[in-house]
């Protein structure tokens, strides 16, 4: 029987020999194979969620912007209506214009002739000679100098007491109505985004659960070589983040494209050129500005974050519940 003597020079790592070696590892070869973690259906669901979330977020953004433009435009202008007296044909218009021009904070006073007033209501009522015989209130549009606006309330009381039949409309009703509507849209939009985020998270947790189950042997070997939970979770997380970023970009990109094409689509759909123009005048062209594209980027980042955090949470929760 021979007894083995400890080797005098053992070329194991306990002795460092500096020389360049061929590489036998693919750089960062995934410890968990990507195909076993995420499938096409998960990518599809995330892409669809990204698309819907983009539409919702950008929709809210566009409406919010349009509403801001309206309210600003509306606040910069007040209207004086002069009810025609039934008994007299006397006309206070010139005096009222004179009075208004004398006030502080007024930029411009534009009285509308009856001709012009009729033109304003034409899109709704149509053109008819009959209308001319109706007593249509006279209108004076007053442009306010927004840098030093007058006290509208005082102006209203003074004007209305001085000229009976004159009505000052500061469009406050409209402004409030628009604000209420946009607030409602915002809340609805945020609620929908929240639901989409929840659905995405649930899908990812389910996918993480099955990914862990189908990679049980890998997880167990990683445990055996002393991997921290964090490390194991990260092996899965990276795949989910990759899918999240790709699917998110795809979904948001599709939504962006849709918004980009919106003017052509509305033109194609609407029956008359005027109604398309009308829509554009009301809500803008519907295309996204820089802020809108930033919203799309935020959606992609949010989708990736949801993928990262929920997959990490899902994997770690399961690992925690497994004892070995």
């Amino acid at each position: 029987m021979s007894t083995v003597q400890p080797a005098s020079s053992l070329p194991v790592p306990y002795k460092t020999r500096k020389q360049s070696q061929p590489k036998y590892a693919r750089p960062n070869a995934p410890i968990v194979p990507p195909g076993s973690v995420t499938g096409h259906s998960l990518a599809l669901v995330i892409a669809i969620m990204g698309f819907l979330a983009s539409i919702t977020a950008c929709g809210v953004y566009v409406v919010f912007n349009a509403a801001n433009v309206w309210t600003n435009r509306i606040s910069a202008e007040i209207t004086i209506q002069i009810q025609p007296h039934a008994d007299s044909s006397s006309d206070d218009t010139a005096e009222i214009v004179q009075f208004l021009k004398g006030q502080n904070g007024i930029a411009r006073v534009t009285p509308f002739s009856q001709e012009q007033s009729l033109k304003l209501v034409e899109p709704w009522i149509g053109r008819s000679e009959v209308l001319k015989s109706f007593a249509i209130p006279k209108l004076i549009a007053v442009q306010i100098d927004m840098s030093s606006p007058p006290d509208i309330a005082t102006l209203k009381t003074v004007l209305e007491s001085k000229f009976p039949g004159a009505l000052l409309d500061d469009h406050g009703l409209w402004r409030n109505e628009i604000r209420r509507l946009t607030r409602l849209l915002e809340i609805g939009g945020i609620g929908m985004l929240f639901l989409m985020a929840m659905a995405t998270a649930a899908v990812i947790v389910a996918a993480a659960t099955s990914a862990l189950a189908s990679n049980r042997e890998i997880v167990s070997v990683l445990n055996l070589v002393g991997a921290e939970e964090k490390f194991i979770a990260r092996q899965f997380e990276t795949h989910f983040v990759k899918v999240g970023v790709r699917a998110g970009i795809f979904g948001a990109g599709l939504a962006g494209l849709l918004f980009f094409c919106l003017p052509y689509i509305t033109e194609g759909i609407s029956t008359s050129a005027t109604s398309a123009a009308e829509i554009r005048r009301l809500v803008g062209a519907g295309t996204l500005d820089i802020g809108g594209y930033a919203v799309l980027v935020v959606v992609v980042v949010a989708v990736a974050l949801i993928c990262k955090l929920t997959s990490r949470y899902g994997v770690r929760r399961i690992l925690n519940n497994q004892n070995i």
Binding site: V12, Q19, Y24, L222
Partner: protein, 225 residues
């Protein structure tokens, strides 16, 4: 008996699988750092079971196990991972990952520790050459022979220079010449401070190195120093 700085300490340990009989009972022993032991016993005596308890992948059904001075029953998962990184283990069934190359399998413990590949790639390659897998580094486990897998599993267990090496029948699939070579690797590791427990029933292997023996019989452990 001073067991104050024992590396491993078992106190009245018993283990049963499910509702079966106790496979191990009243196991009491302690090992000092730097020791070298053969764990012997017939097939089915409980060698693998004892090693699994040492590796914290099996909880004793009664009694206490201390590793590195710590009661392992009180470990959190993170502490257990921590301890496992100080232990190398060679499984009877190797447990290599099929989709990683031999090289990547061996490098796995270092990767798990967060070490950079450029820092350890020479070590991994050198160790693989030493265990005779120099030309199998890029092969996947599916195409390795039993002996080659065994050597890859041993390389993975020792690559991180563990404080304790547990090997379950590490020479079961290799020829006597390679068995001697692997034994030399274990001896060299031990010389550098690693405590070694080799479960084996290969008497030819044991005769080649005068190490203490732990004998399992009828569920009880006897120490032959």
């Amino acid at each position: 008996m001073n067991t104050g700085h024992a590396l491993i300490r078992f106190e009245n340990v018993g283990l049963r699988y499910g509702a079966g009989q106790e496979v191990l009972r009243d196991v009491n022993f302690h090992l000092h750092p730097g020791s070298f032991h053969f764990l012997t016993g017939a097939s089915g005596a409980g060698k693998t079971t004892l090693l699994r308890m040492l590796f914290m992948s099996l909880r004793p059904t009664r009694g206490l196990v201390y590793l590195f001075g710590r009661n392992i029953a009180k470990n959190t998962t993170s502490q257990r991972a921590d301890l496992r990184r100080r232990i190398g283990i060679v499984f009877q069934d190797f447990r290599l990952l099929d989709h990683l190359t031999t090289w990547e399998n061996v490098a796995l413990p270092l990767r798990v520790m967060g070490r950079k590949q450029s820092d350890y790639q020479d070590d991994v390659t050198e160790l693989l050459r030493w265990v005779g897998l120099g030309d199998r580094m890029h092969a996947f486990p599916a195409v390795l022979s039993g002996g080659e897998k065994q050597r890859a599993a041993i390389a993975r267990a020792v690559i991180a220079k563990p404080e304790l090496l547990l090997a379950d029948e590490p020479t079961g699939n290799v020829d006597p010449q390679m068995a001697r070579r692997l034994l030399r690797l274990f001896i060299e590791l031990n010389r550098l401070g690693t405590s070694i427990i080799i479960a084996t029933h290969d008497y030819q292997l044991m005769s080649q190195f005068p190490a203490a023996r732990m004998q399992l019989e009828n569920g009880r452990l006897e120490m032959h120093e």
